[in-house]
């Protein structure tokens, strides 16, 4: 057994961020009280400590936000040159970089993810997303989307809680670069970095109404999706909600892009670099506590090396540090909410009930907050719920295969098609496998890589439309000419 080194606690200071006791809605460039006067609490999932009271937007507030966005689109934003629009986005990118530590600490407090992830992945990638899209604003005619791509108008965006600021950046940066104005609803459990982003918009002197942020739960999102003056809906979240949004939008002329769930296969061939693959498996399913739509939640390992890979994986999991997300040495933080913890608990119980073998490394979980240990299921059949349903937690289901054909068949045997991983030292095998996997993103000898230039999005029931890269611009542009 590899020994886990004992480290002294290395907590990040939270003094860098000021959290207000209550927040209003960000509409028309300023914070306003919700018309119904309702609010909800957001908590630190690692401690259950209450962080702030956040306004709950109702249909009237959403209407107000959409009007502000429409006004900003007609009077200001659509009249600006692409170059000037781009300069605002460059400003925002710089402001995010300048205030990176503040955002990282706030993200970890509100979401429960380890500070090293919010500091090294979420915030820098969010800033990079704005920087990348800033440069597109005056170059859209070079994007290969037809000779005269046009903005759509007002865009409604609904984002999840797993990467709160990063998902905001994935939504807002391309929408603004292509000339649209935005009403964004953050997830109800993680509204704080979006509200801090409103402050960044003010610092950037972004014209009032170009970005509006309405906090709330499902009803707020539904009001936004149903609003008749919204030209486009962009949604990231569960497949069930995505389908219901698609039904709501059906029969209107609203455009829609969906980034939904996944059940990615991470495929390990017998010629894979094993230690590297084990790191990739760990990153694939335990990054962000497995609360990642593209998580490598199904490990497909070639039968001849299965025992060795699982042994090494278990040894590696014994060294993972689970606990205080604010500690710089923490690998696995808190589950985002009690509801999510309940879902993970229910699905893992189903895994056991259906006959799979459950294993977790010995680890002490904090007394307060929402915690789930890294968990591996072996002896999993394709029909088991833990092999079919998205768990969205630190739970890996292990299946085996003998031939590449069998690996492809099993990998594709799900209604999802978001991502996949392939581990092999043989380049020709990687490329042939990549061709046959029905997934929008395929990582070879790596996993969970994201870049603003690289399109992300799914096949099948994982959604449609892409985010990032040249392809992501199409989601926010009217490029249609004839038929």
């Amino acid at each position: 057994m590899t020994r886990k080194f004992e480290y002294a606690p290395a907590p990040e200071s939270r003094s860098v961020v000021d959290i207000a006791s209550s927040y209003g809605l960000f509409i028309g460039g300023e914070f306003v009280d919700p018309s119904g006067g309702k609010s909800f609490k957001t908590i630190n999932p690692a401690t259950e400590e209450q962080l702030a009271d956040v306004a709950e937007a109702d249909a009237a507030d959403v209407d107000k936000a959409v009007r502000a966005a429409r006004r900003a689109y007609e009077r200001t934003w659509s009249r600006l040159s692409g170059a000037e629009r781009g300069k605002y986005l460059f400003r925002i990118a710089r402001l995010l970089q300048e205030r990176a530590r503040e955002f990282a600490v706030l993200e970890t407090l509100d979401n429960g993810k380890p500070i090293k992830e919010s500091r090294d992945v979420d915030i820098p990638t969010a800033a990079a997303h704005f920087f990348y899209h800033a440069g597109w604003a005056d170059k859209l005619e070079y994007a290969g989307l037809g000779p005269s791509p046009r903005a759509l108008g007002v865009v409604g965006q609904v984002i999840p809680w797993n990467f709160p600021l990063l998902m905001l950046a994935w939504k807002i940066a391309p929408a603004l670069a292509t000339g649209n104005t935005v009403v964004l609803k953050p997830a109800e459990t993680t509204p704080l970095t979006a509200l801090l982003f409103a402050d960044v918009c003010q610092q950037a002197d972004l014209p009032a109404g170009v970005v509006n942020i309405v906090t709330g739960a499902g009803a707020t999102g539904q009001a936004l999706v149903e609003h008749p003056d919204v030209d486009k809906i962009a949604f990231t979240g569960s497949t069930d909600v995505g389908k219901s949004i698609a039904r709501t939008v059906a029969g209107t002329r609203k455009r829609l892009t969906l980034e939904l769930g996944g059940k990615a296969a991470n495929i390990i061939f017998d010629d894979a670099p094993v230690d590297q693959a084990v790191e990739g498996i760990v990153n694939g399913i335990f990054f962000n506590q497995g609360q990642v739509c593209c998580a490598g939640s199904r490990l497909l390992v070639q039968e001849s090396v299965a025992e060795d890979v699982i042994h090494r994986l278990q040894r590696r999991l014994g060294t993972l540090r689970v606990g205080d997300p604010m500690d710089k040495n923490t690998d696995v933080g808190a589950i985002n909410s009690a509801a999510q913890l309940a879902r993970i608990t229910a699905l893992t119980a189903a895994g056991e009930a259906e006959g799979a073998t459950r294993w977790s490394p010995p680890c002490e979980l904090p007394e307060h907050g929402f915690w789930f240990p890294p968990t591996v299921f072996t002896g999993v059949a394709q029909t088991h719920r833990i092999a079919q349903e998205e768990i969205f937690g630190p739970v890996l289901s292990v299946l085996t295969f003998r031939t590449p054909d069998e690996a492809v068949a099993k990998a594709n045997n799900t209604p999802y098609g978001l991502s996949a991983g392939i581990w092999s030292e043989k380049g020709s095998r990687i490329l042939a496998m990549a061709d046959r996997l029905r997934a929008g993103v395929v990582w070879a000898n790596t996993f969970n890589r994201f870049d603003p230039t690289s399109p992300f999005g799914g096949y099948k029931e994982s959604g449609y439309g892409r985010e990032g890269g040249r392809h992501g611009l199409a989601a926010y542009l009217d490029t249609e000419g004839t038929h």
Binding site: G242, K243, V441, H471
Partner: protein
């Protein structure tokens, strides 16, 4: 003495064969224009015919999407060649189906032939035009390329029985998708004659499947079918297209709405040179990350 013509029996086109509807039903097809006359009895396809057609389409995906891009281009060009050879037949059929004069119908047929030629040039350019290398900030070769979405359901335009039909089939199959087409309800005959062209043009059986019948009856089954990846509602002009789009939501289908504004659905001008919007609608983008190292 004039000779009595030998009439054609119009059937369905599924998996490269021409079966009758499993339901045994048919319906009367009349000519358009001031004095409608009887043209033929078309097969009235059923839910089961749609499902058979989807099975045929699914089984053809692997071969067609796995063919070389250049090969698909040659097959599409071949369709144009064979259609050209049957030009006179189609002029007569389009004239009676759409109530056009012969010169008007000839224009339609010529445009339909040229449309195949336009698309024949596309398969081996799509990946170059729609794909690219992504300059990610790290040691990775990162490439995005288009892939066909799979099986596409198509409600063919109701008015434009040949040019409109070709204009919705070609952009789906050009990239390797296979299709299940519900032909124009009142003008289905050119679609079945086109099937005869496809059957003799090296288009593998199952790549294009054509069902004639009542749009309102069969379209909901196609829209809700779990093994259909996308649906083109071009021909949903007399049925509530919003309901079909909603039925497609349960399987997260890619949907092409009919032209028009609001709930109104109209047919576009099929004579206009197409752009890539229909082709794109039935493509997925796959991004592959591969590390660079020693």
């Amino acid at each position: 003495m004039s000779r009595l013509e030998v009439r054609k029996t119009y059937k369905l086109y599924i998996g490269g064969a021409f079966p009758r509807s499993e339901s045994g039903r048919s319906y009367e097809v009349m000519s358009s224009g001031r004095a409608p006359k009887f043209l033929a009895n078309a097969a009235q396809g059923s839910r089961k015919d749609i499902r058979d057609a989807v099975v045929a389409a699914r089984s053809a995906v692997k071969g067609w999407s796995g063919a070389t891009a250049m090969g698909r281009g040659q097959v599409l060009y071949r369709v144009g060649e064979i259609l050209e050879g049957r030009r006179e037949q189609f002029v007569a059929e389009v004239a009676s189906s759409e109530g056009l004069t012969r010169p008007q119908a000839a224009k339609v047929v010529d445009a339909a032939i040229d449309r195949w030629v336009w698309y024949a040039g596309w398969p081996d350019k799509l990946a170059q035009v729609l794909g690219n290398l992504n300059p990610v900030a790290g040691p990775y070769f990162d490439i995005s390329a288009p892939e066909p979405t799979g099986v596409v359901g198509i409600l063919a335009p109701q008015e434009s029985s040949l040019l409109g039909l070709v204009s919705v089939i070609a952009p789906a199959i050009v990239s390797g998708n296979t299709v299940v087409v519900v032909a124009s309800e009142d003008r289905p005959l050119p679609a079945i004659s086109l099937a005869e062209v496809l059957a003799t043009s090296d288009v593998p059986g199952g790549v294009v499947n054509i069902v004639t019948g009542r749009t309102a009856e069969v379209a909901p089954w196609l829209a809700a079918h779990r093994d259909v990846n996308a649906i083109d509602l071009a021909g949903a002009t007399a049925v509530p297209w919003g309901e079909l789009e909603a039925a497609a939501a349960d399987t997260v289908k890619r949907v092409v709405r009919p032209a028009g504004t609001g709930t109104d659905a109209v047919e576009p001008d099929w004579f206009a040179t197409p752009d890539l919007s229909r082709t794109r609608a039935f493509l997925e983008t796959k991004t592959v990350w591969h590390p660079k190292g020693q």
